[in-house]
Symmetry: C2
Amino acid sequence: MDRIPILQMGRFLLVTIQVDLYDRLALNLESDLVQMVNKTGARGVLIDISALSIVDSFMGRIIGNIGSMSKIMDAETVVVGMQPAVAITLIELGLELKGVSTALNVERGMALLQTKIGPEEDTEEDEDDRGS
Amino acid sequence: MDRIPILQMGRFLLVTIQVDLYDRLALNLESDLVQMVNKTGARGVLIDISALSIVDSFMGRIIGNIGSMSKIMDAETVVVGMQPAVAITLIELGLELKGVSTALNVERGMALLQTKIGPEEDTEEDEDDRGS
């Protein structure tokens, strides 16, 4: 597998990371995600890491990168489903997930995104039309 | 990895299959999913296979099993994100995904589930209370 699927759910994108990210996979994920945000106009990115029992500094950096890139593209990033052991490890290693919020599970993550980005606007296409 | 994460989204469960299923992983997925349906009272199961470029008879059987098990637990199963090549292979191999519906992507899959299971009822807890 050299790509992690990105699922669109309304205004959000959902990525479930199930395998350890190696270089190419991580780079593909970053570029795919930015392109998806651009293409779909998504306002939020949910990254589910419930399948990961280990998060190392590389993974932490990739998640941070994704958060920063999404931010530039005007999308918020929320990491969901972190296992307790992973949270402990992150703190013990002094790793921070900069620029990303966390939530217990996908549903809470979605709720968090909803509050962050506010209520759904009337289709952005209208604004585009007005602008042109 | 020996477990595929199952995400709850409202009344639905979402499973993203990103790796080839081997025996134990498939069995774990089946049992996890049935337990999740039981625990959450989910009415629909979405299986995203957009990351799979190959579906063999084993995978087909597992998806069929999940569909049948979910059906018994009163949940509909929809397979989403199938790649065109996979659809071609399925037909050429004469494999059928019995008991499951398909949809182009997660959003359409959700819409399909909504129509299949009808509008949201007022919290099932109320019915339980009435029953007891």
